[in-house]
Amino acid sequence: MEALYATVTGVLTACGIYLTLRGRTFPVVVGLTLLSYAVNLFLFSMGGLASKSTTIVDSSFPYADPLPQALVLTAIVIGFAMTAFVVILAMRTRGDLGSDSVDGQRTDEPREERK
């Protein structure tokens, strides 16, 4: 099970990184989202993989490690805030510069309809 979990984390990381290396804003945002899934899964597993456990006191199950859970919970919310910020930044960039490329060479696209 551990090997499977680690493999999934690795695949998500690799896919996320490949997309962040693309030259347009949208794939980069998607890549960052994938990467944040991977990071969250990675951090979450730092307490070990606990099946049929709980983080509620006085229940009949053994305890899972609550600390990584608490940390990852806030990480998910912050991750959303950052994704939102980056994607709006991407929109703003396109609005102001007329291009969504991030490879340093400004290739302005033909402006179809602009208001």
């Binding site: 983080t55 305890y63 929109m91 609005g95 969504d100």
Partner: protein
């Protein structure tokens, strides 16, 4: 404590010119002179005490953690320099009043000058090595300002920059040397260091210390091969040159040699380095002083030469040589300051400093001619003047230097050669300028300068003559006191007299005078000889070096910072993967000792779908909508993963966030191109795949290595204290709102800030609106599907109820502010989607920004509230309350904090999505509005 006044008065004095800017120039000069004059009086007050062998000190702690104290001492050497700095400084103040023209800001000049004076006094009186270094760098900075005083001139700017670079770099070497000394001795206290001669010389760091300290001294004193900055510092106004190059700046270097003489000298290294550098500088400077056609250039190179002479004397390692060095410091300061001032007068009255044009000035300014001639004679070492005495001692000492074995005769021979050249250029300075025919096309008709412009020179010349005739009475006491501070152990008996009998040094002096005359007569041959060499302009080569350095930096910046995110990411990731991999290499084997848990078919299927969805995301990334759909699959499965591994809170959060994220990305996609053009070349794709694959592999290995090893977590504390300390059964929630509440406060603040930033980014955004989808189909005219909006309206109250329920139970069961907030936000978003922004806005007529801000404020105030009860920030408390009908209920202040979290999440999420939604309505293509 009066010692402090010596430093403080000039420091305050640097503000005097500013305060008196509205007065006349003469008044300003007098006002500026008052404070240094008082400081001179303070020094005089201490003189008898110092002469009788006392060393007044004062020490105040400044930065104790760095061993940096405001510690000052006034030993003989310090006293001598204090006299020089303040005495000549006062003369310069008077001289500058007449030298500077109406157009030059005298206020700025005096301000810089006093700052420089303070720095110089600080160097010579510091009793703490770090303090000494502090003042040392302050002289570099203030001399930069002085040399660049005429900042309109390119030569002034370049000269100043060069001086700052060279002396500043030397200062850093000095700092390194001082730190090493502090390391060896264990203290930066100068008194302690001066007593640790054996300790330092036996230390393995001795050579390094010596080299670093000497680098500091040599750069400051313009010793070969660092001499090149000094001639270009002549771009400064002449009063500055007269001050910097006679009594102060360059003397700081030789002062440093004298200061460290007791601890560093006496070794072979000291002898060879210092002697060789001094001798080279002496001859180099003397030769170029003979060649230069610029009046100040001649003086600049002669200064270099004389500094070389002083350095050489310190290198001899004998007590009498040290006495001679100190003596020559005094003499050189007096005659060189007066010569510079004389040169300044010539420049001022004739409008040029070119020796080829200046001739026969004695007819126009006979009085100045006499003064300059006496000063020059002193420089040449003519009897009855002070320069003769120290030069005689120098020649005598050069005869005693035996370290070169059978070749020791070279040193006196070269010393005599230096003296010959010295006589020749002194002669040239007088004969070429003031005699030798008529002046050639001068810009001005020369005449005698104002009375008070000559006064400083007269004072200095008087000293030259009196010391030269009556050395025993005038100079012996201070020289004895100064030498006592330089020479370790019993101070040598200093006996100065004019006549030592007919001996070898006297003969060498005679040879020097005669030889100098001959060289001067034969000077044309030397010029002709020199002309065949290509002249190197130090400033130009320095400048081109600086330019090359700038170009190199620019080039490397361009290489790395080309504006491409891809390149930055590539280097960043490569570095990261390097670090992560290097950690893995040190692990003996990948798998840990923990028993591996079995896999079941559900897990395998889930894992495979997760991987396939992730791969699908990248395979289809050029068709953005499809890619996004794959992404949502990944998110859902991640949420399930959390649920599977006993983290219901996480699963709920991930689920809610997933919904919000995908809605957000879809909205954004509406404004972004629907497709990604194919841009990456095959090579680039391969490179990225390799990097991504490596990174994924490293992360997977790392993850596997960690989770197969037993954990020793600090979580036991949280589990044990959750109920007794935090009053909640849901440990995750108690950690969030109680144990690590400060983290959470920070995080909701970030969330709020992100919301505000997005609100700002969307402000006045101009967007590209597609009027149809990719295949050219227009958007559906039915904007608000009936079923959706009926369902959403029914769902809203239910969803809000669920949200409240999740919020309230969060402290004891899965749930809490974050999740509840997200659920509420999703429900409201659904209304927006079903009914459109205008419709919803009319009914939800409030802004979301205040909600988010209120949330952060409630959380912060809850934290602050604990201060009222004298508890640390964010301390929580809880209790049980009996409420009629409902019954026993447990309330915790943490609930209030969680309410803050809840409001922030709702506010920020809606701020982001509703504002983005608003952008779509105002820009909707008009044909669809009908």
């Amino acid at each position: 404590m009066t010692l402090l006044l010596i430093i403080l008065l000039p420091l305050i004095g640097s503000l005097v010119p500013l305060a008196s800017a509205r007065f006349k120039r003469t008044t300003i000069a007098w006002l500026v002179a008052i404070l240094p004059a008082i400081a001179l009086g303070v020094a005089a007050y201490h003189t008898t005490s110092v002469f009788s062998g006392n060393i007044p000190t004062v020490s105040l702690p400044w930065v104790p953690s760095l061993s940096l104290d405001l510690a000052f001492r006034l030993d003989g050497l310090s006293l001598l320099f204090v006299y020089l700095v303040l005495g000549i400084g006062l003369l310069i103040i008077l001289y500058a009043r007449y030298y500077l023209s109406e157009n030059d800001s005298i206020v700025r000049f005096y301000g810089y000058l006093m700052l420089f004076m303070t720095a110089m006094l600080g160097i010579v009186t510091s009793d703490n090595l770090l303090l000494l270094w502090f003042f040392w760098e302050l002289t570099s900075l203030s001399s930069f300002l002085l040399i660049g005083y005429w900042s309109g001139l390119s030569s002034a700017r370049k000269g100043a920059r060069m001086a700052l670079t060279v002396t500043g770099a030397g200062g850093l070497c000095l700092l390194a040397g001082i730190l090493l000394i502090g390391n060896v001795v264990g203290s930066f206290d100068l008194t302690t260091v001066l007593e640790s001669r054996e300790l330092i010389q036996s230390s393995p760091y001795y050579t390094a210390i010596l080299l670093l300290v000497l680098l500091g001294a040599f750069t400051k004193s313009a010793q070969f091969p660092f001499q090149f900055w000094l001639p270009h510092a002549m771009a400064a106004p002449t009063p500055v040159s007269a001050y910097l190059h006679s009594a102060t700046m360059v003397k700081a270097g030789v002062f440093l040699l004298a200061r460290f003489y007791p601890v560093l000298s006496g070794t072979d290294e000291w002898f060879y380095i210092v002697t060789l550098v001094g001798l080279t500088t002496l001859l180099y400077g003397a030769f170029f002083a003979l060649i230069k056609q610029d009046l100040k250039g001649v003086l600049a190179f002669s200064t270099i030469s004389h500094l070389g002479l002083i350095t050489l004397l310190f290198g001899f390692n004998t007590e009498l040589a040290a006495v001679a060095a100190v003596f020559h410091i005094i003499n050189h300061a007096t005659f060189k300051a007066s010569l510079f001032m004389a040169a300044g007068i010539v420049d001022h009255e004739c409008g040029t400093r070119d020796i080829r044009k200046l001739n026969g000035l004695w007819r126009y300014m006979p009085y100045t001619t006499v003064l300059a001639a006496v000063a020059s004679a002193s420089m040449a070492g003519v009897p009855l003047l002070n320069g003769f005495l120290s030069k005689e001692m120098f020649l005598a000492q050069s005869l005693d230097a035996q370290m070169l074995g059978g070749l020791s005769w070279i040193i006196p021979a070269l010393a005599t050669l230096g003296s010959i050249l010295s006589v020749a250029y002194s002669l040239r300075f007088i004969h070429d300028v003031f005699f030798n025919g008529e002046p050639k096309d001068l810009p001005k008709t020369p005449h005698e300068p104002p009375r008070y412009m000559r006064l400083p020179i007269e004072v200095l010349i008087l000293i030259c003559v009196l010391v030269g005739i009556l050395p025993a009475i005038l100079i012996e006491p201070i020289l004895t006191a100064a030498t006592a501070a330089v020479v370790p152990g019993e101070p040598p008996q200093v006996h100065l007299s004019l006549w030592h009998g007919l001996n070898l040094p006297l003969m060498m002096s005679g040879i020097a005078l005669m030889g100098g005359l001959l060289v001067y007569i034969a000077r044309d041959h030397i010029y002709r000889f020199h002309r065949q060499f290509k002249t190197l302009n130090a400033r130009d080569s320095f400048e081109s070096m600086v330019q090359k350095l700038v170009k190199l930096c620019q080039w490397s910046i361009d290489r790395f910072e080309n504006g491409s995110l891809q390149r930055y990411m590539f280097w960043l990731l490569l570095t990261a993967v390097g670090f992560a991999a290097s950690g893995l290499f040190q692990v003996p084997k990948l798998a840990g000792d923990k028993v591996v848990q079995p896999v079941d078919s559900v897990l395998i299927i889930g894992g495979v779908i997760l991987c396939l969805a992730a791969i699908g995301t990248i395979m289809t990334h050029r068709k953005r909508l499809i890619s996004l759909l794959f992404l949502s699959v990944v998110g859902m499965l991640v949420s399930l993963t959390f649920a599977r591994f006993s983290a219901p809170d996480l699963a709920l959060t991930q689920l809610a966030v997933e919904v919000v994220t995908i809605i957000l990305l879809m909205l954004a996609l509406f404004f972004l191109p629907q497709k990604t053009p194919k841009e990456s070349t095959g090579g680039r794709v391969l490179r990225d795949l390799l990097l991504a694959g490596t990174f994924g592999g490293v992360i997977a290995s790392l993850n596997y290595a960690v989770i197969t090893r037993p954990v020793d977590s600090i979580s036991r504390f949280f589990i044990e204290n959750s109920v007794p300390g935090g009053g909640g059964h849901n440990i995750v929630n108690v950690i969030l709102v109680d144990f690590r509440g400060f983290d959470t406060l920070g995080e909701i603040t970030v969330l709020g800030i992100a919301g505000v930033a997005i609100y700002k980014l969307l402000n006045r955004l101009r967007l590209f609106m597609p009027s149809s989808d990719l295949e050219g189909r227009p958007w559906s005219s039915e904007r608000f599907p009936v079923i959706l909006y009926s369902v959403s309206q029914t769902l809203l109250p239910l969803a809000l109820l669920v949200s409240a329920f999740i919020f309230l139970r969060g402290h004891n069961l899965p749930g809490g502010g974050f999740i509840a907030g997200l659920v509420a936000a999703v429900a409201i978003i659904l209304i927006y989607m079903a009914r459109g922004v205008e419709w919803s806005q009319r009914r939800l007529s409030f802004n979301y920004q205040p909600i988010a801000v209120t949330g952060v404020a409630i959380a912060a105030l809850t934290g602050l509230g604990s201060w009222v009860f004298n508890a640390p920030f964010l301390t929580s408390s809880f209790g049980h309350f009996e409420i009629p009908v409902i019954g026993d209920i447990e309330l915790a202040t943490a609930l209030l904090f969680d309410l803050g979290v809840y409001l922030t999440v709702v506010g920020a999420t809606l701020m982001i999505l509703a504002n983005l939604g608003k952008v779509t309505t105002s820009h909707r293509p008009t044909k669809e509005k009908q």
